[in-house]
């Protein structure tokens, strides 16, 4: 199977939080617009009883996706270690917390769980046999600021090589290899009143060396010195937390264990290209490596814009199909 396009309901966070679309409404709209069949759902966003799922909910969900012709692909889980702020829970508690979410994925019919860096490598190794038992795969969301040879990722690569379980894989998320800050993010900051000198400062500091949090601190100090409002600094600093400028070609190193793909994007321009991420370089890497996965459209412009997410996802999927067919 080649790479196919799908959608994560996270892209429709604004439509959902405003209660204009319920979970079922979003699934129906995704199906009606042909944005599936593959879908990703974040458990703690869409399911009230999560990390548990009731039998009735699971039955209704399975019936609805069957009716709509959708295919559950990935369930986003969370590693909530700090259930009390600043006080980590015991590993045994956290391990069971993951297992509860794995059982819920199994019950709903999702074959893949998306986990994050907050689940440490040793715990993932401990969960691998349980995933195999349930017939599930665990995929690390390789999220900004990381990329294939970021130290964070190297620790998981080492563990994957040692454990060598078919249940363990990667979920590339391309925010860590952005070529630029999306112009739509800068526009949103301007609309909030950020002055041009603050935008310039961001564009000077963002591409530079060093960890994202240090660059954010550098910007903050300089911006406060120049008299910029904290609210405006916060608006532009979003760029440090969602985007980094790693090498897009580095994804080739993760292609062999890629089980699912996050199509992180901000907007597709009139030229048919993504504003910030160089998909023209990235997607052929996975296509040519023969990766069998769904790329779910993950519009993150909702973090600063209330544009219609459905229209954004449609444009993005068309772009992906063009590149993948070339």
């Amino acid at each position: 199977m080649p790479i196919t396009t799908g959608a994560t309901l996270y892209a429709f966070t604004n439509e959902y939080l405003t209660r204009r679309y319920s979970f079922a409404d979003l699934l129906r709209e995704v199906a009606a617009r042909g944005l599936g069949p593959g879908i990703e759902v974040i458990g703690f966003q869409s399911i009230k009883t999560f990390p548990e799922v009731t039998d009735a909910f699971a039955e209704n969900f399975r019936a609805l996706v069957a009716e709509l012709g959708l295919a559950p692909v990935s369930l986003g889980i969370n590693s909530d270690r700090f259930l009390r702020p600043g006080q980590p829970v015991e590993d045994a508690h956290l391990l069971e917390y993951h297992k509860r979410q794995m059982r819920s994925a199994h019950k709903l019919g999702f074959p893949i769980l998306r986990y994050q860096f907050s689940t440490p490598p040793a715990m993932v190794a401990d969960l691998a046999p349980y995933a195999e038992e349930l017939g599930l795969k665990l995929g690390l969301e390789v999220h900004a600021p990381a990329h294939a040879h970021h130290p964070l990722v190297l620790a998981y690569r080492e563990m994957y090589a040692k454990v060598n379980s078919p249940a363990l894989g990667w979920i590339p998320d391309f925010g860590g290899t952005a070529s630029r800050i999306p112009p739509s993010l800068l526009e949103a900051a301007r609309a909030r009143g950020a002055r041009e000198s603050l935008i310039t400062l961001l564009e000077e500091i963002w591409p530079g060396p060093g960890p994202s949090h240090e660059k954010a601190a550098t910007l903050r100090a300089a911006a406060l010195r120049d008299g910029h409002a904290p609210e405006h600094i916060q608006a532009v600093s979003l760029a440090f937390f969602i985007l980094a400028n790693g090498d897009p070609k580095s994804w080739a190193e993760l292609a062999d264990r890629t089980i699912h793909i996050h199509g992180k994007f901000y907007g597709v321009g009139a030229d048919g290209r993504e504003e910030a991420v160089d998909y023209e370089t990235i997607l052929p890497i996975f296509r040519d490596a023969g990766v069998d996965a769904t790329i779910v459209a993950e519009w993150e412009g909702h973090a600063y814009s209330t544009r219609d997410a459905f229209a954004e996802v449609e444009k993005f999927q068309a772009m992906c199909r063009r590149i993948l067919a070339a």
């Binding site: 604004n14 966003q45 969370n78 259930l83 009390r84 009143g193």
Partner: protein
């Protein structure tokens, strides 16, 4: 400069203020994209018509259950579902139905999967008491 809040930034819910026998009720929304345990949510401040409101005897209501604000810290297994409204109940306040008030509410969240992160969101609105 004012701007429209993003859905994930608002903390005052659509039904606003309501008078009740138990005191004034304020509709609150969770300023995050996913549900969070109540132990990671704090009602930081409320002011009414510019004056800070003492929250010592305020109650937090969700799904028919009520907690004193100080008790939320222990609720690690009770989740605030991201679509649901919670209500802040202020037993000392009994403004007349129909009266209008400027409400400023600050909620803070500590997303439990992001070490050390605290995000505080404030919203001010002028609301009529239902």
């Amino acid at each position: 400069m004012t701007h429209t809040l993003l859905p994930v930034e608002r903390v005052i819910g659509e039904s606003g203020l309501a008078a009740s026998a138990d005191g004034l009720r304020l509709d609150m929304r969770l300023p995050w994209y996913r549900s969070l345990p109540l132990s990671t949510v704090r009602v930081e401040a409320l002011s009414l018509d510019g004056a800070p409101v003492d929250l010592a005897d305020a109650l937090f209501e969700l799904d028919g259950r009520r907690w004193p604000l100080a008790a939320l810290a222990d609720e690690i297994d009770s989740f605030w579902f991201v679509l649901d409204s919670a209500f802040l109940i202020l037993p000392q306040l009994h403004p007349a139905p129909g009266s209008r008030h400027e409400v400023a509410l600050t909620l803070a969240v500590f997303p439990p999967y992001i070490p050390g992160m605290k995000r505080a969101n404030s919203q001010t609105a002028t609301l009529a008491v239902a």
